[in-house]
């Protein structure tokens, strides 16, 4: 219960934050990979700049939603200076809470028949 309340205290997340969490949901990634994933998934609609990305990473790391991963790709496969980030359990909880919040909002929009053309009912 306390945990839930704690994760909800971060809501609503900024779109950039949510996208970063989402990008890490299926596995750890380095910075550039996160940018690519977000751009790809949103069909280029969300393009994070380096400053915005790392500002968000710093904040997510500071609040314990993501962690720098210890694992490194095999030698030679990747630049060693790159750091990889992974979602923590708490980060996943916050992301889920945010997704639920969005889902509820969406349901309310449906209930209000927002998507139907006016005058058809």
């Amino acid at each position: 219960m306390t945990k839930k309340r704690e994760s909800e205290s971060y809501l609503p997340l900024t779109p950039a934050m949510f996208h970063v969490l989402l990008a890490l949901a299926d596995g750890e990634k380095h910075g550039y990979a996160i940018l690519k994933e977000v751009a790809h998934r949103t069909e280029g609609k969300v393009q994070l700049s380096a400053g915005t990305l790392y500002g968000n990473l710093a904040r997510l790391e500071g609040s314990g939603m993501i962690l720098e991963s210890d694992r490194r790709p095999e030698f030679g496969l990747d630049d060693e200076r790159r750091r990889y980030y992974r979602l923590t359990d708490f980060g996943r909880e916050v992301a889920i809470a945010e997704a639920r919040r969005m889902e509820e909002t969406l349901a309310q929009a449906h209930a209000k028949r927002l998507f139907r053309k006016p005058g058809l009912v």
Partner: protein, 884 residues
Amino acid sequence: MPNSKPPFSERFFKMLVRVFPFDFQTNYGGEMAGVFREQEREAEARGGVGGVLRLWTETIAGVFRTAPREHWEILKQDCAYAFRMMRQNRGFTLIAVLTLALGIGANTAIFSVVHAVLLSPLPYRQGQQLVFVRQQAQKMGVNDIGFSVPEILDYRDQNRTFSSLVEYHTMSFTLFGHGDPARVRTGVVSWNYFEMFGIKPILGRTFLPPDDQIGAPPVLLLSYEYWKGDFHGDPGIVGKTFEMNDKVHTVIGVLPPVPQYPNENDVYMPTSACPFRSSQRMIEGRDHRMMEVFGRLKPGVSLAQADADLATIASRLESSYSKTYPPEAGYGVAASSLRDELTQGARPTLIVLLAAAGFVLLIACANVANLTLSRMARRERELAVRTALGAGRSRLLRQLLTESFVLAFIGGAAGLLLAYDSLGLLADFAARLTPRAREIHVDTGVLLFTLAAAVGVSVIFGTLSAVSARGSLASGLKEGSAGAGAGRQRTLVRSVLIVAQIAFSFILLIGAGLMLRSLYQMLQVNPGFVPQRVLAMRLTFNWSKNKTGEEIALEAKQLLDRAKGEPDVLSAAVSSTYPLEPELLTFGQSTTNFQIEGHPLASGDAPPLANVASASPDYFKTLGIPLLRGRLFADTDDQKSLQVVVINDAMRRRYWPNEDPIGKRLSPNDGKDWLTIVGVVGDVRELGVDQTPGVEVYSPVAQSADARTLLVRTMVDPWILANRLSRAVHEVDPQIAISHVMSVEDARHESLAAPRLTASLLGLFAGLALLIAVAGIGGVMALSVSQRVREIGIRMALGAQPSGIVRMFLGQGLGLALLGVGIGFAGALALTRLLKSLLFEVTPTDPATFIGVALVLIIAALVACFVPARRAASIDPNVALRCE
């Protein structure tokens, strides 16, 4: 090729990353550069130059969006930590905030005065173009003889450098129709006077040309203060009528609160409404000078050009009217900037006070830096632990700077409150020096000054603590680090700070000491009269009812008889004025040129000038002015008898050094009338106890018909008689307006208010400085004792006597104190010249003050050192050695 990026873009990106907090740069900077490299490569491949430009735009925007948030986050954390630390060290916080509040508060208060009086533009439209025009008779030693009506018209018509020239004089009239007859100080001005200054009325209108025509219905403008005070800000005042000079005057407007120069008036009227100014005699008399002249320079005209223009007109007039402008008088006309006129009286005092407040702030700064250093010694471990836990060094330095800023900011806010609180008092003080005092208030300029002071202070002592912390961060966790190199270095810094504090305190104490000595000298001066238990009140006759001299003389006689009949009255007199009367100090004495019978003037010599006053027979007795030769006035000296005068001793010394002046004759009007000297009285310091008495001629009230003041010497506290005497006066003539009721002792007290307040403020600053510096030196000694416990233990174990230990520490403290006094001595010698114009009979390098202050400071320092020294002497060597 792994490194194919253009080096410029990489360098630029790295520069951009510097906008982020240092820790952020360290953490993510390298990676960000890597990400950006890849983004750039991709953008180039996809969109060419356009793509790269787009990426740059987005990246720069992203950095400037994100970086402030990062800084803000850190600031929040640091502030929260700073507040936690402040709560943990309440004693330190309290002392530091209090010291800074006093330092910053003193500066803010004095600065708000300096800002309003010396720095702000005049509250008139384009005030820099406004000038005060003076006609002088230099060879007669008169700086301002005023202008006559024909002269004003000549200068107005013939000048080429002024867009307007307006006249001004002030008189007292009696106003009827608003309670008791009231004496109102009236400014008599040209119709375009207020238009030239750009003063817009807050109610009604100002004068128009028809108001200034002879025979126009009389109109009045009220000053803001008079309207607020006597009419309680009545919004319906415009259109009300009052009687003055036997005529109905209509109020046409109310002025805004603006500084009035050369003096404050209750009401203003156009020249046509003043019975004196509109008389034929004044309009035609070229040597009937009673007006002051103000002007507005045409755009682009300098003061020197205006002076040259005025000089041309003056020489033209001199050749046209050679009798009116004899060359031996040395007539001349000069313009001076109105701003200088308004502020010159305040400038030296304010500069001295600002410098003194600046010193207090420096001392406060040094003191807080010292406190911070001693706290840093205790925080070494905490900082070292945080370093070990991964906090970067720059992060900790930033933290320390934030802490100092938070302290300074709280100190500044408290200082601002202190300053705000003392502003009323300071404005009263400044009002004695300049008419601009009413403009004093806390505005944006003052707030910015306070902020700048707080930031400056925090930078000074924050840097000191940061620098001190840097040395210890590396060694903090090692055992015994407190006694190591960093500690010794810190003691040295602290000693330097203490020496600086003592030096600054010395300079301040010298300043205060000199002012106090000067004030003491002023109080010791024999003013030439006995001011105690004399009540004075200003009487304004209704001019239109008392036309002849005989009538005035008769009424004066009746008043005196009535006053003398009151119980507790020892003697009573009427006179034109009395010594040290506040109005006399503002307007100066009346003067006249005279010639001495049998002393023809050598050609080219200016006729001698004397101050003139009128006095009833008991004037000298009432004020305790001694008769030195001859006799005083008698009731028989009236309009029908021989015209007589009494002179002062200064006049006798100047003109009859080896003769008896009794029986000699003077003429004030080129031999038309001759006045016989019947007595010589002692010199009186009329214009201030610090002003050397001038040549004085007294004539009897019965002959001069000038009775404006009633003086009464009483057996009891003179204030007890104030109401009774007022009633008595109104019983004789209900149309006399009574004002300025005060005891002569109060007038004397008042005349010393400015030097007394300057001395008090300097004394306050110096006292604060002394307290802070002495507490500082005691603190350094205490720290030094606690750092040297082991050494003291060894010394004592080896046979050192407690008295020797005490001597050792006292010697150390004495060394610091002497060094500080030495440096302060040199500084004071250089700086006290600033005070010269404020000092009376004390030289800026007065040896007694210098030696006295040095002794006080050294003794105070020794006393402060004695406590820790005794503690050192009471250390038990066994305990000390075991502890270590």
